[in-house]
Amino acid sequence: MAKTIDDQPTPTLKDRAAKIGTQVQGSQAWSSIFRPGSIFRKGYTDSPRNRSYVIMNSVLYHLHPVKVKRHAVKVSYTLCLGGLSFFLFILLTVTGIFLMFFYRPTTANAWQDIQTLQTSVTFGLLVRNMHRWGAHLMVLSTFLHMARVFYHGAYKAPREFNWVIGVVLLTLTLLLSFTGYLLPWDQLALWAVAVGTNMMGYTPIMGSQVRFVLLGGTEIGAETLLRWYVLHVLLLPFVIVIFMAIHFWRVRKDGGISGPL
């Protein structure tokens, strides 16, 4: 009897890995996450059907249709500016969540927390740099995206409404950047925001009220920091995501991107 058992060769490490791979890829969890056509799915072959499945069975289906106009994939037309603005928003969300672990929005701690983050936290300086430069880059790319859309006349019928949403998104991007500007609580932040909010005080009729609500008082202080922190990490991202969803939805509803010229 022992001989018959010995006839089976002992499985090598490679065999075991292959077996585990097959089991994982055959499991229900795997096939629920990676739908037919996914490149992570077992047995993906490059066929029109599978190309369609990659989009239809993924969360990306809300962003992209299965097929797009051939002209729409020309980089020289869009310069990827809208997509990069969105991608930068994702990058900023990821890096921002990282920063939130090390930051307290109080006048006593804010600056010291940033200092500690830069000097004592692994990758802290790098992630803060990425967050800051990414924010400037997003303002720039959103602005350039707007210019690109304008020069292509892409705001014309049927895309008027989406243009309006886009202007709202540009404004929200500026507000997100501006609210984040205060958070390091250094001299640069404090006085840049002082200049900005002084201007808002000149809003006709309700200028001082607008300023009071934004600052949480008559002068910049601890309340302002907390207020702008909540705006920056919670309220404005929440609002901008809603407007982005409408923006992307309208792109598809209006028949894909505009053009060709």
């Binding site: 989009i55 299965v66 430069w133 201007m199 200028g207």
Partner: protein, 247 residues
Amino acid sequence: MTEIPEHLLKRAQAAREKTAEDAAASSASSGPSDSRIPDHLLERSKAARTGGASAGGVAVAEKAAAVVAAPVGGSVPVGTGPGGHTQRLLTVVKAGSIQEVKAAPIDKVHTWPHLLGIEFVAALACTAFLFIFSWVVNAPLLQAANFNQTPNPSKAPWYFLGLQELLTMFHPMVAGVTLPGMGLIILVLTPFTDRNPSNKPEDRKFITSIMTVHLMFWAVLVIIGSFFRGPGFNFTFPWRDGIFFEL
């Protein structure tokens, strides 16, 4: 009933002649013994056909029978109905009597991999650029905020420096609220005021030049505010007095 168009009649005639020829050729070469239909069935169908014809079937039936008749002797087995028909002519629809839908085919490509591939590369390039830039250049962190020490000059974030520049020329209400507010409103209303339906650059010279002037106006203001303003927000040259600008 609709008259059968002449070209259809001609085509039917041609087909009939062709099958007759084929049948003649095949029967000449192989003979009826080649047929796979049992003899008694063939006879029954022949009887039915002659019966139907003698009973005075409609013209169509006769024609159909004529068509069917040819291959029977040949190798092609054909099942026929009691009237000898293999099909019934319900109606003839003239070309053009149906609304023709001509959907122009749009040249489309699969989003995967054509678009997603590009987007993936763009995202990677963007991440790489940001990563390397952040590696090399550190974000500014000045001294902790101090209410008693106003830096000179104190500047707004760069995207608001155009407004701060306007502040040197106008009353704060005009520079800080009225002008940017008007700008935003005009921007929102652009698609509703520009009723020119064309999106070709050559048809939009006026509005593109207006927009270019507008964008350049802000760009120049931002550049002046960023690099050409020194202590007291007075005009300086960056190559003479250095740059008073933090991102």
